[in-house]
């Protein structure tokens, strides 16, 4: 029978970094499985929707601003030799780059390659920053972030 102390220890163990998820001992969790998380945040009169799909070696994120449009697609990853993060626009997003900064910083936090789809309108840095902050908080809550973020140069 588990004591309260054991239960607390068990939940603390589950808060650990992403690459220890497989050791948690939770038999119900599908280790290799794809995990989809969706959530909505409303503030002022703006609705931001987030969809996070965690694959084993990558995270796909969609950020929706007031609509369910797909938006622009960016791919970001850390590149050798010095682990600097590079980002590229894959679909749409030619000159405005809204979302490319978010993708870069997510890679630095999560340590995994990121594919980000984002329909936030351009010239709205405050909104971008808010969306990024919420997203990073959620990634930390879900345990997808690294303890020592990658350095930016």
């Amino acid at each position: 029978m588990e004591t309260e102390y054991d239960q607390v220890l068990h939940s603390v163990a589950q808060v650990k970094i992403a690459d220890q998820i497989n050791d948690s001992g939770d038999v119900n969790r599908d280790e290799d499985g794809v995990k989809v998380s969706c959530f909505t945040e409303v503030f002022d009169d703006v609705t931001l929707q987030f969809q996070i799909i965690r694959l084993t070696k990558q995270i796909y994120v969609w950020i929706g601003y007031n609509s369910a449009k797909f938006g622009n697609l960016y791919a970001a990853a850390s590149t050798r030799p010095s682990n600097t993060v590079s980002v590229t626009s894959v679909l749409g997003g030619t000159s405005d780059n809204t979302g490319s900064g978010i993708a870069r910083r997510l890679v630095m936090k999560a340590g995994l390659n990121i594919i980000l789809a984002c329909n936030i309108p351009k010239n709205n840095p405050l909104l971008e920053a808010k969306a990024e902050k919420m997203l990073i908080r959620k990634l930390i809550d879900l345990g997808y972030t690294m303890p020592t973020p990658l350095r930016a140069t």
Binding site: C38, I53, L55, S67, F70
Partner: protein, 124 residues
Amino acid sequence: MESLDANFPVRHRKVSLETKGNKTEIVICSYEDHILVIATQIGAMGTILHARKEEGMSVEPTFSVSVIFGKRDEPMMIATARRLIDHISSYVPSKTLVLSLGLKDHSSETLKEIVAAVIENRLW
């Protein structure tokens, strides 16, 4: 497995299948103007393709299918995207397909099974 949150505007569905000894995870998401299909065996999105129906005057529909990220030398992947956009556009002609294939094995049997699983669990 259907999405749980009924109020979230993007619906998604997860399917798991086994082909030739490889476990394939498929996620299908339906956005307002796009359908996203992720099929992965390697734990990453792999090659990303984009497919849409072209506006045209002719009776037969034409499609534009291209690889936007990743391997550009696998014609079977393009054929897979073409097959799926054909199916999608007969139900929702205005939606574009973003297909991601992160596969260890690109044989036509595997791709056919993936297409069958996606169509069986479609969200359009």
